[in-house]
C-alpha cells in the first residue's frame, strides 16, 4: 500500500480503462438513442473524434482565471472521484486510492468538480450558465435525498461505510447483491441515478434548445475537450460506485462492463421514453415517492434485515 510509484501506475491504468470505456459508453448511448429514433446514429468511435476535434481547435477565448480553471476543477473532480472508488473487488491493481476514505468521501467529492465548474461557468458572465447551474444545484439537492436515504439504508445493512467491505458483503452469489437483499434502497437509489445522469425527464439543466446546454454554454475548444474527458471518467466512476454498492461489485473487467452498461441503460431507456420535467416539478418529484421509498428502505433495513 505504501508503494507509491506502482500505486500511481495502477491508477493511471484504471484511469485509462475507465476513460476509454466511458467514451465508448457515450457512443453506445448515442447509438442506442438513434435506434430508438429509427436512425443508424453516429459511429461508436465518434466521441473520440469529437474529442480530438475539440483538442485540435486553434483558437479560444477566456473570460478570466476562474473560467480557465473551471474545466481543470471539473476534470480533477472526475479523476478524483474515480481515485476514491475501488474499481474491482479483491484486486490490488484496481483498488485505486480507496484507502484514503470511505463512501462519504466519494459522495462528497463528487461535488468538487461540479462546484469548480460552476465557478468557472459563472465567470463567463453568461446568464444561461447561471440559470443552468441554479437548476442543476436545485435538482441535485432533491435527488440527493433519496440517494442519501438509500446509502444510509445499505450502510445500516452492512454496518460499514467502506465501499470494499460493502462489496465484500455482497459476494458469494447473486442473491447477496443489495438489489435483491434490499430492493427498496436500490429503487430509491436508481431513481436518484436518473437525476444524476441528467437524461430526460431530468435534463432541464442542459436544455439545449432553451438555455443552450446550460452551464458549459461558453466552453469550447480544449475546455470542452477536458469536460468531455471528465464526463467519461466521472460517469464511469459513478457507475462503478453504483455497481459496487447495489449490484455486487465486480471481480473482473468483463463483469464490470456488463454491469455498468446495464445500470447505465436504465437511465438511457427512461430518457428515451420521457419528455422533460420543469425543474420545480422534478424537485417535487424526488422529494415525494423516491424519498418515501428511501425512508421505507431504512425502515425495512432496520426492521427486517437487522434482527
Amino acid at each position: 500500500m505504501q508503494n507509491w510509484p506502482s500505486q500511481i501506475g495502477y491508477f493511471m491504468l484504471n484511469l485509462t480503462i475507465v476513460g476509454l470505456y466511458g467514451m465508448l459508453l457515450s457512443g453506445i448511448v448515442a447509438r442506442t438513442l438513434a435506434k430508438v429514433q429509427g436512425r443508424i446514429g453516429i459511429p461508436l468511435y465518434q466521441p473520440f473524434l469529437d474529442l480530438a476535434k475539440n483538442l485540435g481547435k486553434r483558437t479560444a477565448v477566456s473570460h478570466g482565471v476562474m473560467f480557465y480553471l473551471g474545466p481543470v476543477f471539473r476534470l480533477a473532480g472526475g479523476i478524483g472521484t474515480l481515485a476514491f472508488v475501488p474499481v474491482l473487488y479483491g484486486s490490488e491493481i484496481f483498488g485505486n486510492f480507496s484507502m484514503a476514505g470511505d463512501l462519504l468521501l466519494a459522495m462528497y467529492f463528487m461535488f468538487f468538480g461540479q462546484l469548480g465548474m460552476a465557478l468557472g461557468a459563472g465567470e463567463s458572465g453568461h446568464p444561461f450558465s447561471a440559470i443552468g447551474i441554479a437548476r442543476g444545484l436545485g435538482q441535485m439537492t432533491a435527488y440527493e435525498v433519496p440517494f442519501a436515504l438509500a446509502i444510509i439504508a445499505i450502510v445500516v445493512q452492512y454496518d460499514t461505510l467502506s465501499i470494499t467491505e460493502i462489496v465484500a458483503a455482497q459476494q458469494g452469489g447473486i442473491g447477496n447483491w443489495t438489489v435483491f437483499t434490499n430492493p427498496l434502497a436500490v429503487i430509491a437509489a436508481m431513481i436518484a441515478f436518473l437525476g444524476m445522469t441528467a437524461y430526460p425527464p431530468f435534463d432541464v439543466v442542459m436544455a439545449p434548445n432553451e438555455i443552450p446546454i446550460g452551464p458549459p454554454t461558453e466552453y469550447h475548444s480544449s475546455y470542452l475537450a477536458m469536460m468531455t474527458m471528465n464526463q467519461a471518467v466521472f460517469a464511469g466512476a459513478k457507475l462503478i460506485l453504483f455497481m459496487a454498492l447495489f449490484f455486487g461489485g465486480a471481480t473482473n473487467l468483463v463483469e464490470l462492463v456488463i454491469k455498468t452498461w446495464a445500470i447505465y441503460m436504465v437511465a438511457v431507456v427512461v430518457g428515451a421514453a420521457f419528455p422533460r420535467f420543469r425543474v420545480d416539478q422534478s424537485i417535487r418529484f424526488f422529494l415525494r415517492y423516491p424519498t418515501l421509498i428511501g425512508i421505507a428502505a431504512i425502515a425495512y433495513t432496520q426492521a427486517v434485515l437487522l434482527p
Binding site: G38, R39, K53, T59, E218
Partner: protein, 210 residues
C-alpha cells in the same frame, strides 16, 4: 472604397459608446498557423472533417432543409455531423438561403464567436447572386463580400440530398486543408469589415465579436 485600416493594435470599436467600449474586447484577431508537424495537421484535418458540428442557426428559408438532414431519413449523424446550440462549440455555419442586412449582423456576430478552424457553407442560390431576391432592398447579393465562404451549394432550394453531397464535399476540402476561410477572414479583415459596415448602418457592436 474607403477601407478603414486597422493597425495590429487594439481595434477602435467606433460603433460603441464610450461606456460600452469597456465591456467588449478590442483585441484584433490573429490567423492561426498549421501545426508544425505535417502529420499532425493532416490527422487533425481528418478529425475535423469527421466531426462537423453545425451551428443550429437558421438564417433563412433554407434552414428548413437542415431538419430532415438530421432525422431518420438522411441521418447526417452517420457522417459525424451534429447540431450544436452555441457558436462557441460549432465549427460549421450553414447560411440557410438568402441573408438580409438585418440577419447579416447576427450572422457576423455568431461567426466571429465560433472558434477556428471554422467553415461557412452557403446554401441555395441567394447567397451567390441574390437569386430571386436579387433586387430586393435588403437581400445581400454576394455573400462572400461579407464573410469568407468555404462552400456553395446551389439550388432553390437544394434538397437534403444535395446538402449531404455538400457535406461530403466540405469534408473533402477540409481533409485537404483547403477550407481556410477563417484565416482568410482575418487576413482580409479590413476589406470584410468595410463591406460589412457599408451595409450595416447601425453598427452597435465591436469591430470583432470575440
Amino acid at each position: 472604397m474607403d477601407m478603414q485600416k486597422y493597425a495590429l493594435g487594439p481595434l477602435p470599436n467606433d460603433g460603441l459608446s464610450a461606456e460600452d467600449r469597456d465591456l467588449f474586447s478590442d483585441a484584433r484577431p490573429v490567423p492561426y498557423e498549421p501545426y508544425p508537424v505535417a502529420v499532425v495537421e493532416k490527422f487533425v484535418n481528418w478529425v475535423r472533417a469527421n466531426s462537423l458540428w453545425l451551428l443550429a442557426f437558421g438564417t433563412g428559408c433554407g434552414a428548413i432543409e437542415l431538419n430532415p438532414l438530421m432525422t431518420a431519413r438522411f441521418d447526417a449523424y452517420r457522417m459525424g455531423v451534429q447540431m450544436r446550440p452555441t457558436p462557441r462549440q460549432s465549427s460549421v455555419f450553414i447560411i440557410g438561403g438568402y441573408a438580409s442586412v438585418k440577419t447579416l449582423k447576427r450572422i457576423i456576430r455568431s461567426y466571429e464567436q465560433m472558434q477556428g478552424p471554422k467553415f461557412v457553407v452557403c446554401l441555395g442560390i441567394c447567397p451567390i447572386n441574390g437569386g430571386m431576391y436579387w433586387d430586393s432592398y435588403n437581400t445581400l447579393n454576394k455573400f462572400d463580400e461579407y464573410l469568407p465562404v468555404d462552400l456553395y451549394i446551389t439550388g432553390c432550394m437544394p434538397r437534403p440530398e444535395v446538402l449531404m453531397a455538400g457535406v461530403l464535399e466540405l469534408k473533402k476540402k477540409i481533409k485537404e486543408g483547403r477550407a481556410d476561410g477563417a484565416n482568410r477572414y482575418i487576413e482580409n479583415f479590413e476589406w470584410y469589415k468595410a463591406n460589412q459596415k457599408r451595409v450595416i448602418k447601425d453598427w452597435n457592436m465591436p469591430d470583432y465579436n470575440w
